[in-house]
Each structure stands twice: as C-alpha cells, then as structure tokens.
C-alpha cells in the first residue's frame, strides 16, 4: 500500500463521517478533497483508483455521476451522494462486500 498523501487522508476523513455527513444527500463542496490526478490506494483489500472525474475498483470502471451541487453518486449507492469520486468509490467497496463490479453497461 502506498503511503497516504495528505489529500487522501482528508478524503478518508470525509468518508469516515459519511454515514452521517451525506445524510439527506446534501454534502460539503467537493473541491476540498478532490484529487488533481489519479491516485491508487488499497482499501479493504480492493484496489481503488480515482481521479477528479472517475474511479475504478480492481480495474473495473465504477459508473458515476456528478451532480449539480458538485457531489458524486455511483451505481452502488445511487440515492445518496459523496464529495468526490474517491469517496464514492470507497463507499462502493463497502457496499460490494467482496463482490466484483460488473464491467460495461450491465443494464442494456
């Protein structure tokens, strides 16, 4: 596991409070924890790579949206939002609970 950057620690801190902080889907502005370039960490045994606009889990793209208020929502948590793609990806790892993410447009 790579040493965590300050940015990553900030993002992890944001996630730690996510269960309450994103309640009601209003969240803080995303800019504070948004990484400028791709970062890869091992989170709960899964490889999470995130940039400012997207994320992958074990190399599989995690489909997500950026909302008008700057927050992010992924297919694994579609009815709440997170400050950054990194936060959304880590929440998705928790939701996956060891399962794999389906690649491609699984809904078509």
């Amino acid at each position: 596991m790579n040493p965590l950057t300050r940015r990553q620690l900030l993002a992890a801190g944001a996630l730690a409070g996510a269960g309450v902080a994103v309640y009601g889907t209003r969240t803080e502005p995303a800019t504070a924890t948004e990484p400028a370039t791709d970062q890869t960490v091992t989170y709960r045994g899964r490889q999470v790579t995130a940039s400012a606009r997207h994320a992958t889990i074990d190399g599989v793209m995690l489909h997500m949206h950026r909302h008008g208020d700057g927050t992010w929502t992924s297919v694994m948590d579609h009815y709440r939002s997170f400050p950054t793609p990194f936060d959304a990806a880590k929440a998705a790892v928790v939701a996956l609970n060891g399962a794999h993410l389906r690649a491609g447009e699984w809904w078509r």
Binding site: G19, H67, G68, V75, M76, D77, H78, W106
Partner: protein, 280 residues
C-alpha cells in the same frame, strides 16, 4: 391497458389471498423474463439522468409522471397473470417495523442475514431458485438487504405534511439542485433537503434497493406506489398547481405534452390516474 378500475391498497390491509396473488404475479413475470426488463429500463434512466443534462426519470420535474407510467406499465403486466392484482403501497409513515408487513415471509421477506446480507426468508430468497438477480451493478446473484443502518430513518407523517403543504410543483433549474424549500418535487424526491420522502428510503432498505438495480428488490414497487399515492393527494390538494416547466427544457427534460423516454407517454397523459386506479 386493462380497462377494469383498480384499487391500490395499503399492503398491510391485503388478505392472505391478495398477498399470495400479488407475489405469484411478480414471480411469474420474473420467470417469463419480463421482470428484468423493468430493472433494465429503470437502470437505463437512472444511469443517464443527470443535472444540467438529459433528465427524465430522476432529478427532473418528470420524476412523478415518469414513475407513474413505470408503475402503470408494470401493473398492467401483473394483470396479464392475474387481472385481480393491483399494486399495493407501503406507507412507511405507519409501517415502520423491520419484522411486520411488508417484511413478512408471505410478502417481501425480511432483512439480509449477517455477513453476506443475503435475503433468506420469503418468496424472493435466493434458496427458492425463483429470484436470481442478474441485472445488477455487482456480481451477487441474490437479493440483499441491509435495513435501518445507522444514519438512516424512514420519513414521518410530519415530513409528508410539510411536503404536501408546498403549492409549487417545481422550480428552476428543475433538477436535483432545485430549492427543496420551494420545489415540492425536489423536496419529495430528496436530492437535497431533509424532508426527502423518496431517496432516503432506498438506503434505509439498503442492499439491492440502494443500487442502480433497485427494482431487483420488489419493495421498490411498494415504495413508489406510496410516492404515487402521496403525489395523488398533493394533486387533490393543489388542483390549480400545474406541471412545471410546461414547455420543458429542450433536449433535456419533457414538457407537459412531450414524450417521456422510453415511452411516447407525456406528463399530461398520466397527470390524472383516475381512468386506471384509485387509492384506498
């Protein structure tokens, strides 16, 4: 569409025979392959609908009419199995127990088990072999739930009352950022704000229901039937409050008489449900 008028009832008020008929109709659609077309259709919208862009099923004024049409279509398919079946609703302001209806073995089954969160009770348990989950964002082949995790509560009758008191259907910019203190639609849909009658119930149930494959959990229909019922009550209370914006937003969201993809149906055509069903 079936011509017989339907009566949508509180699921807690269904007789044993009505419960059995409802469950059987759902399982029959699943066996036919019809059910999963609804999971796909819904996911195709929710994975596409976005603030500032095309938004038809969610984060849009057409949230209510789109889901009304979605439920009407599903209900019509249920009636091809048994014409006596009507969609029931889950009134989560009163049915708040994790073990009573709709979470009983004759209806939705209960919470997911510890560990893998698999639903192991009721007609949609994986072990029945009748509810394989294949149209989902992850590889789990079973229905899973994680009910009432900390931080999530069901909406209350007070929350509903505050939404119903809002007389304006929707406000600019007509998306997930519309002011939840002014836009009844967004206050109810719950993209912002604390009233949030719709969004938060998905993670309250948790599991499949929280994902973009939400209709894999049949409680999806009961939840949205409740929202349709509350919308119907709002329409009765505010008969002079129109769909907004009447002209839509070109290329992004449908106006009053413009089609809601993937159907040709317009908001106008489903604004009243009186030709199809009533609520009891």
């Amino acid at each position: 569409m079936v011509a017989v008028m339907g009566v949508r009832r509180n699921i807690t008020a269904l007789t044993a025979a009505q419960r059995a008929a409802f469950v059987k109709a759902i399982l029959t659609l699943k066996a036919r392959g019809t059910y999963d077309t609804y999971v796909k259709l819904h996911a195709d919208r929710i994975n596409t609908d976005v603030d500032g862009g095309v938004r038809i099923g969610h984060r849009s004024p057409s949230f209510f009419p789109w889901h009304r049409k979605f439920l009407l279509s599903f209900e019509a398919d249920l009636k091809t199995v048994d014409p006596s079946v009507d969609l029931p609703y889950w009134d989560w302001t009163t049915a708040r127990s994790l073990t009573a209806a709709p979470w009983t073995a004759d209806l939705m089954g209960g919470n997911g088990r510890t560990g893998d969160l698999m639903v192991t009770t009721g007609p949609f348990a994986y072990s029945t072999g009748k509810w394989p989950v294949t149209v989902a964002p992850d590889g789990r082949p079973y229905l899973w739930r994680q009910m009432a995790t900390p931080g999530w509560t069901l909406p209350t009758s007070t929350d509903v009352g505050q939404v119903q008191a809002m007389g304006t259907y929707d406000t600019a910019p007509y998306d997930g950022t519309s002011n939840p203190g002014a836009s009844m639609r967004n206050a109810a849909e719950g993209c912002l704000g604390t009233l949030n009658l719709h969004n938060r119930v998905h993670p309250w149930v948790g599991g499949s229901m929280a994902t973009a494959g939400a209709p894999n959990d049949p409680v999806f229909w009961l939840h949205h039937c409740q929202l349709d019922r509350l919308f119907s009550q709002w329409q009765t209370r505010w008969p002079n409050s129109p769909y907004l914006p009447q002209a839509g937003v070109p290329g992004m969201l449908p106006g009053w008489n413009q089609p809601m993809a993937p159907w040709s149906t317009t908001p106008q055509q489903v604004w009243s449900h009186s030709q199809w069903y009533t609520y009891a």
